[in-house]
Symmetry: C2
Subunit: 299 residues, 2 copies
């Protein structure tokens, strides 16, 4: 059994070290711009996507250096996730003042500066994946990682999902639409994190299929829990404004199903994620524990 | 001698066909989002960056299919350029209502939608480069193209330059700072267009060095001319608001040197660009003509 709290604390340290190592330094002509990027990247965060990426890699590879090899890819995922938060928080989008208990990037640096900090982090994700001076898998696999991340983060993935989300505010939304939003907005990047870990560690197609199914189910669970916490947790607990979904007239799982049924659906998604890992050995224990951890946040 | 008008008309048709072929279709769940991306991509534009990319490729390769091989990369450059215009035009940045004589993306689709259209186009540029189902050079070269584009478009290139530009409004700016802004904001992506064309067509390191020098000089000429046109041309001629630089208190070449001296500096940059091509044969004629064409816009 994996002690999930201990595991997460250790993994977060590893990821923080990687981010510090690979993030641009705030020096030279562009120092204020890079400061804005670093502010949002280092203001905190659970580092769920890099941790999932490294856990998936550890699930298919025995290479003791696999964390090192995949770290730039793991950092790229966090850069892309952070950019999406910066842009989502903008006045024209969710207009949030708080993120991780601190002023959002545009509150701290200004709106134009925050848009550019987001653009910079998004682009830097692809720099990290394509820089052959950094650790990483062979060139062909690096290119597959670029394609996987671009597809998940782009217009038919995260960006498209955010568009649908904004576009659906204060509208009656069918459950199918809510699912499409969740799959694209949150699910795609979480699935990519898991798949990129596997891909970068040399997973075969059967393993990648299982990891994709796991990632899809975990992504769904993650979003359901996020919807739930927006209703049940305080602003202090969340580090961002609670009740923001209702305020923006957003469709959510609790709005469709109520709190109890939503909890059940989250548990079902977690169970499905774990079933997808049935063919993996003990090396998949961290992935199993991570899925359960996501559910535990609902309690 | 290349008839530049005829050449440009032909090349624009080729690039338009490529963009139509490779751009996402506006169908399915994300159709409105993709419409916003397509609106800005197809509202017009000189297609300078894709044309430079293909011209540089033609300068080092005799392959009659070289346009086809490099077209996804050429389209990626235009996607990145278009995203940068969408974000630059936003209310929080230059707050422009007109672009290419039409309403800007946020005027037409809304501000959140325009931010996301930009994010989508930026990400799609990397999808085009990394999609091995599309034409392109070998995998290792594709990865180099990703690295080149990400570096040029990112925080130490275009995005950083835009940040410096915004950050320098209404401030006394030294000439060195203006140069740094221009190099990063405009020069980096234009240089990348030329270098990516050469790289994708198999240029050796000596050729890449010459193309880099050409791209750097052409990028400078381009920005000087842009500064000049903002003073000397009408809104109708530009298709965007004339006099926008002065209104935003931006440092420009004409503000430093006056109009006549600025024209001379543009011509010097063009001469420098052409000198850089001295070692190339007649296949470099289009690149030489393109440099002269950039200067001709000042007259």
């Amino acid at each position: 059994m994996v002690d999930i709290q201990e595991y997460l604390a250790d993994r977060r340290q590893v990821v923080e070290r990687g981010l510090k190592q690979y993030m641009l330094p705030a020096t030279g002509d562009f120092s204020v711009h890079v400061q804005a990027m670093r502010y949002s990247l280092f203001v905190g965060g659970k580092r769920v996507r890099p941790i999932l990426c490294l856990a998936a890699a550890g699930c298919v590879s025995d290479d003791p250096e696999i964390d090192t090899v995949l770290m730039p890819a793991a950092c790229a995922l966090e850069c892309i996730h952070t950019y999406s938060l910066i842009h989502d928080d903008l006045p024209a989008m969710d207009d949030d003042d708080l993120r991780r208990g601190q002023p959002t990037c545009h509150k701290r640096f200004g709106e134009a500066e925050a848009i550019l900090a987001g653009d910079g982090l998004l682009t830097y994700g692809f720099e990290l994946l394509s820089n052959t001076g950094l650790p990483g898998p062979d060139g062909a696999t690096r290119l597959r990682l670029v394609a996987c991340l671009a597809g998940a983060a782009g217009s038919l993935g995260m960006v498209g999902g955010q568009f649908l989300d904004i576009d659906s505010e204060d509208k009656d939304v069918a459950f199918e639409r809510l699912q499409a939003i969740h799959r694209a907005k949150t699910g795609a990047l979480i699935t990519a994190a898991v798949v990129m870990g596997g891909m970068g560690a040399g997973a075969d197609s059967r393993q990648l299929e299982a990891l994709t199914a796991y990632g899809t189910a975990v992504g769904l669970a993650f979003q359901i829990v996020d919807d739930l916490l927006d209703v049940t947790a305080s602003t202090e607990q969340l580090g961002k404004t609670a009740g923001s979904d209702a305020e923006h007239g957003k469709a959510t799982y609790p709005a469709f199903f109520g709190i109890e049924k939503t909890r059940t659906l989250a548990q079902e998604a977690v169970d499905k994620a774990c079933s997808a890992l049935a063919s993996f050995d003990d090396r998949a224990e961290p992935l199993r524990a991570l899925a359960q951890y996501i559910y535990s946040r609902t309690c």
